[in-house]
């Protein structure tokens, strides 16, 4: 019996080994190496720069850099812009696609398409739409008598242009989560609310919303983490410009690492960014627990 248990455990470990190996090679080792780099002066393009231990100086450089805080601010701004719109539209769409209306099955599938497209392709599609002279967006706006807008080359519009592309791609994610949450709601509270004569709006705000709130918080939390990872769309559309109007945290890390080749500073910035994300996660969990306690 004991032999069989041990054998089972060995087989179990053998099956786990590939996953552990992949996890180690693709996540744990790079992370440890990045941690090591963050304490070193390491310039990939300039081997003549001494590659030495520099203590906390890379972290100090990042945390005293106005550029870092500017990019953090832009990241947070973009996060609020995209999340707020995605939440409203996503919940609305979720409510719509869960209605028993003809064609909703097809609509639900079609609405998921943007989410399945690679962000680089999304960026390219929107680049064509935003193109100042030849873009469709300005072409259609001209029928409304609106002058061409420099979507991606003006400091007023560029961040919105990125937000719009992100909203287009990821609102279906909120929709999908909302729809899943709505389908699992029990009908009793609704029946009781209808008997009490509540309006549709009241039913939504007092019955539906509190029930799906934990799901919405989880969805927002996932999207918030994504906001810190956003890179591809910005790289294709604006590359952080004009000026530094759309330079988010991931662009800052990229520039340090692959434009200036200062791998140590780039690694330190990545870890600072990780701390910010962890703080954000803690905040979301706190609010999730709070909402669970209330419900």
């Amino acid at each position: 019996m004991a032999y069989s248990k041990k054998r089972n455990r060995n087989i179990f470990l053998i099956f786990l080994l590939p996953a552990i190996l992949v996890l180690f090679l693709t996540t744990i080792y790079p992370m440890l190496y990045a941690g090591y780099l963050s304490f070193r002066s390491y310039d990939l393009a300039k081997p003549f720069v001494p590659r030495i231990f520099v203590g906390w100086s890379n972290y100090k450089e990042v945390l005293t850099s106005s550029e870092f805080f500017h990019t953090l601010w832009i990241t947070l701004k973009l996060m609020v812009m995209t999340l707020s719109v995605q939440l409203v539209l996503g919940v609305g769409m979720g409510l719509l696609v869960t209605q028993r209306l003809p064609g909703m099955g097809i609509a639900r599938t079609a609405l998921l398409i943007p989410m399945m497209i690679s962000p680089v392709i999304v960026g390219l599609v929107w680049l064509f739409l935003y193109f100042p002279e030849l873009g469709y967006l300005n072409y259609f706006l001209s029928f409304l008598g609106i002058n061409p807008i420099a979507w991606i080359t003006s400091t007023e519009w560029a961040l919105w242009a990125i937000a719009i592309a992100d909203i287009w791609q990821w609102t279906p994610f909120i929709m999908m989560g909302t729809a899943a949450a709505l389908t699992n709601l029990s009908p009793e509270p609704y029946e009781a609310a209808q008997i009490d004569g509540n309006s549709t709006w009241d039913i939504f705000t007092r019955v539906t919303l509190p029930q799906i709130k934990p799901v919405l918080i989880s969805l927002m939390f996932l999207r918030a983490i994504d906001a810190f990872r956003i890179y591809d769309i910005i790289f294709v559309l604006t590359k952080g410009g004009p000026g530094d109007a759309t330079e988010v945290l991931s662009m800052f890390i990229y520039r340090q690492s692959f434009t200036f080749w200062r791998m140590g500073t780039g690694a330190a910035a990545s870890f600072v960014s990780l701390v910010v994300i962890i703080l954000l996660i803690m905040l979301f969990f706190k609010s999730l627990n709070h909402s669970r306690r209330i419900s």
Binding site: G243, D244, T259
Partner: protein
């Protein structure tokens, strides 16, 4: 003894006979890969690389990438221990970083050895100097560039436009000699749809100028630096080796670019090199200063609309006071990865010699595919000059010693390009209030990185040592 002779005869027959009849070539079995740009310095050559394989046996594969991000790939390639690419396309400002890190093979001895074969004396010396680092030749020119102005010759020669211009500005319309004239011309030709241009009603807006204002890959610095240099500016402080761009010349250049903004297309902050040249190629702007490597498209109706609706004119870059100042040159070149094997290096050098040879260059010119040439004999050929009028400008602006001066070549060029790209772009976008603030911000950031190095090293980096191939 008889057997010995027989064996020797059989061996000789096998080696000569087989070698000759089967067409065994010098570099049979060698495969070379080239990390390159998709621009005229490479696109002309790429379709005919099979000819090189027929000649030498070496197979060459050219992988073309856009300019933004290409240096990133080259640096990663250079830092790898076992290279994937034996040949590298090199923009001359990269020579400093690639040279100081030892990424490129020193071609000095090879050039000296094959001087006659490559017609060394026919090559403009500044184009070779462009590719040197501390006196060593690290790459060989495939396109020799100058930064100059292109303009709508048909509009400049239109009698009505000439009269209107002279009436408004008090001097005749001609390619600008000063930046003040350049701004006047840009202002004069900026028209909106419905107005008349060259006797025709415009269907869409027409712009006086197109320059690169984008921060992407420091595109704005590529137009700022020639203007800065034309005001007599120097990138570095000669005493300290620190940033010298926040000078009067820097302020004057930033002012010129800012004053040109209203006469540029509305998406000016996103104008990259190719988008900017595209406006000129479609004939949608009156004038544009840029590198001659793209000028070559202006005479080819397959690559530009302009030859079908008008005519391009070419002139040297304007200067601060209109007086002569060294032309800003550049070179798009081919280099050899220093980590390639000896056999690969020899084959790569053979490819460079073939691909940049006078015969190939002349063939491109005769086939109608212009390349920004660097051989005197081609640039001075009267027939070719008639076909490609910019050849005359290319020759006259860099032929004599002292005519021209090379581009920036510092190991921290990527930092300079990126940091100035962002700071200048912010100034043009109105995010930074004054040019002085933008230039000081940029110089401070660069100096912070440079100050950790001893002054002696900084001064060595800014010293343009003449190429030892000229010794």
């Amino acid at each position: 003894m008889k057997n010995l002779f027989l064996t020797a005869w059989i061996c000789a027959t096998l080696s000569f006979g087989f070698g000759g009849s089967s067409g065994a070539a010098e570099f049979d079995g060698i495969e070379l890969k080239m990390l390159a740009i998709g621009d005229t310095s490479v696109t002309r050559l790429a379709p005919i690389v099979d000819e090189f394989e027929e000649l030498t046996g070496a197979k060459v594969q050219i992988d073309m990438f856009p300019y933004p991000g290409l240096i990133d790939k080259i640096v990663i390639e250079a830092s790898a221990n076992s290279p994937s690419y034996q040949l590298m396309w090199v923009d001359s400002p990269w020579v400093g970083v690639l040279g100081e890190s030892g990424a490129l093979e020193d071609l000095t001895d090879l050039v000296k050895r094959d001087a006659e074969e490559i017609n060394l004396n026919d090559i403009l010396p500044i184009q070779l100097q462009e590719n040197t680092w501390q006196g060593r030749l690290l790459a060989f020119p495939a396109s020799g560039m100058i930064w100059h102005q292109n303009y709508r010759k048909d509009l400049f020669e239109n009698a009505d436009e000439q009269a209107a211009f002279e009436q408004k500005y008090g001097y005749p319309l001609a390619p600008a000699k000063t930046w003040e004239e350049f701004i006047d011309i840009a202002e004069f030709f900026t028209r909106t749809a419905g107005e008349t241009l060259g006797g025709e009603i415009l269907e869409k807006d027409f712009y006086g100028n197109a320059q690169a204002y984008s921060r992407v890959a420091g595109a704005i610095t590529h137009d700022f630096f020639p203007i800065f240099r034309s005001f007599g500016g120097d990138y570095w402080d000669a005493d300290t080796g620190l940033c010298g761009i926040n000078s009067d010349a820097g302020l004057a250049a930033a002012d010129v670019m800012k004053r040109l903004v209203p006469f540029n297309p509305p998406d000016y902050l996103g104008l990259m090199w190719d988008i900017r040249t595209g406006y000129m190629e479609r004939g949608e702007v009156a004038q544009s200063g840029y590198w001659s490597v793209r000028t070559v498209r202006l005479t080819n109706p397959n690559e530009a609309v302009l030859p079908t609706i008008g005519e391009a004119g070419y002139a040297p870059s304007p200067t601060g006071d209109g007086g002569p100042i060294e032309t800003m040159t550049g070179a798009l070149s081919f280099g050899i990865n220093s980590k390639a094997t000896d056999a690969e290096k020899e084959a790569a050098w053979a490819f460079i010699k073939w691909g940049t040879s006078r015969d190939i260059m002349r063939r491109f010119a005769e086939e109608g595919n212009g390349v920004s040439m660097f051989h005197r004999s081609i640039l001075s050929d009267p027939k070719l000059q008639e076909r490609y009028p910019y050849y005359k400008v290319l020759l006259e602006t860099q032929d004599e010693p002292g005519d021209a001066k090379r581009r920036i070549f510092h190991p921290f060029y990527a930092d300079v390009e990126e940091i100035f790209g962002v700071e200048l772009n912010k100034y043009m976008a109105g995010e930074t209030e004054t040019a002085a603030e933008a230039l000081t911000n940029a110089c401070t950031k660069i100096d912070t990185r440079l100050r950790v190095f001893p002054e002696e090293l900084r001064l060595r980096w800014i010293n343009d040592v003449p190429a030892s191939i000229f010794e």
